[in-house]
Symmetry: C2
Subunit: 294 residues, 2 copies
């Protein structure tokens, strides 16, 4: 039960000096299970250098704004948790920035009604993005929230939109999207590089393809043909990437992703509807050019 005293072990005061925390903070972290110091015979707590280092990290993460529960997650799943939390923080920052803008405008104009409607739009956007991150944990959810976040900036003006909003949130609350582990890993891997910048560039090239499909095809004919050929090759059809694609489509169909979520999003957001319509038009041109479904 009792471990032997080592030369570098220390009592709480020395520990606090080292990691810049108060005794009370350390006691709280012990209570929260973030460290488990040994007990000496007299009831004193004894901390190892490893405990000290751990608490130094706790201090850094706290000052970065993480809660005790989030810090626990960071230690439990070192890589994924921190990325997840950083993505959430980034979203919250966007919201805070918008709130700051609304506050400044309110201070300048005194127009509470404008602030109220700005808040309503903001809160709806946030609740969808949060649900996306919860429903699809990890990099893929991050990608989705960046993708759909682009279309969720306008205020709601009609009851149809309000109903669509309810359907979107209801879908996200109930969806469960479980891939086999290896495919999930592959999905995460391929989504991991999709940060805000990447999604931005993706959207820009999409816009180009949509607004001028023929020009886009002319400019990128070589790559497009190579890609089409690849999607028909045996290599592709036997690859995990193909299995992932199939699984994603299956899951999406079962969930009602295409029948419920996408139509509701299109009703909610005019910008998203336009995007989908452009996509459909471009797709037709592509099909007639390269033939075949898919």
């Amino acid at each position: 039960m009792m471990k032997p005293w080592e030369v570098n072990d220390m009592l709480i005061n020395e520990l606090c000096r080292r990691c810049g925390l108060t005794k009370k903070a350390v006691e709280y972290y012990i209570e929260q299970g973030l460290v488990r110091p040994g007990a000496m015979g007299n009831g004193y707590r004894e901390f190892t250098p490893a405990d000290a280092e751990r608490l130094e990290r706790v201090a850094v993460l706290r000052r970065l704004g993480l809660s005790a529960a989030e810090i626990r997650r960071c230690f439990a799943e070192p890589h994924t948790a921190m990325q997840d939390i950083a993505a959430r923080r980034s979203m919250e920052l966007d919201a805070a920035r918008e709130r700051q803008r609304l506050l400044k405008a309110l201070a300048d104009t005194g127009d509470y009604a404008a602030a109220r409607s700005g808040l309503a739009a903001l809160e709806r956007r946030q609740s969808i993005l949060e649900r996306l991150l919860s429903a699809f944990p990890g990099p893929y959810g991050r990608y989705l929230s960046l993708h759909f976040g682009r279309f969720l900036t306008e205020p709601i003006q009609s009851d149809v939109q309000l109903a669509a909003f309810e359907r979107v949130t209801a879908f996200l609350d109930n969806v469960n999207f479980h891939l086999p582990e290896e495919l999930q890993a592959l999905l995460d891997e391929s989504a991991v590089a999709m940060d805000a910048e990447f999604v931005e560039s993706l959207h820009a090239s999409m816009e180009h393809a949509v607004s001028d499909p023929c020009g886009y095809i002319a400019e990128n004919r070589e790559q497009l043909e190579a890609y089409m050929a690849y999607t028909q090759s045996g290599e592709y059809l036997s690859s995990p990437a193909y299995r992932l694609k199939q699984a994603l489509m299956q899951l999406s169909c079962w969930n009602g992703y295409y029948e419920e979520f996408i139509p509701a999003m299109a009703e909610l957001s005019p910008a998203y509807r336009e995007y989908r319509e452009g996509l459909a038009r471009a797709d037709e041109v592509f099909r007639s050019e390269f033939g075949g479904p898919d």
Copy 2:
């Protein structure tokens, strides 16, 4: 004591429906003195339409992130408080953005030491800016925090800098900067338009003047001469603006602004020292061109 029941008065449930708050929230705001409903004979609380409107505003301000105490201030001093709070929020947002960057970097690299030093720099910057806002309430403090904030982005590397930081914060904690009311009003009025953009443009033109004083003088000779003439005119010397300037310089001397604060800032921030040096060099050129002290 008891006021007569009016047709549009309402009980708490109706009130909550109107302003989108829970009963508990309303009770809390009553406790905090944000509304004072009337009491009916049976102990029920009775809210007027004015109470309802007030609580709608409370709800908006709360969703914008203000605390109960801040909301009280907004009602007490309608214009100044909201601007003050918005300025503070803006600063906190900058800090949050930086923290988000550090968290993302930590998630990517796992480098806790880098995060720690980034946090230290950030926290020092924030503590100076907060003190500036507290020491100089209102628009002038906002201007100062924007002005000095530009120079407080580098980390501290020497003990001399650390000591200078302590002197800066000690100065700001102890300074009291009270102008006669009319001059304070004038100062606030002239500082009110100095937002981030304005300070940015001010700094840009300052930089131009410093890097090429002769060119700057050549380009702006007319305005500069007009300004110099104005500062010598009887009109200026008998204006409140002149009295304000004199009072500011007096106060600054008494406080040790020039003997303590400015030198400490120059020791703390190399960027600020450079700025001051450039200013001094440019000033000499201006003097030799336009003559006279001041």
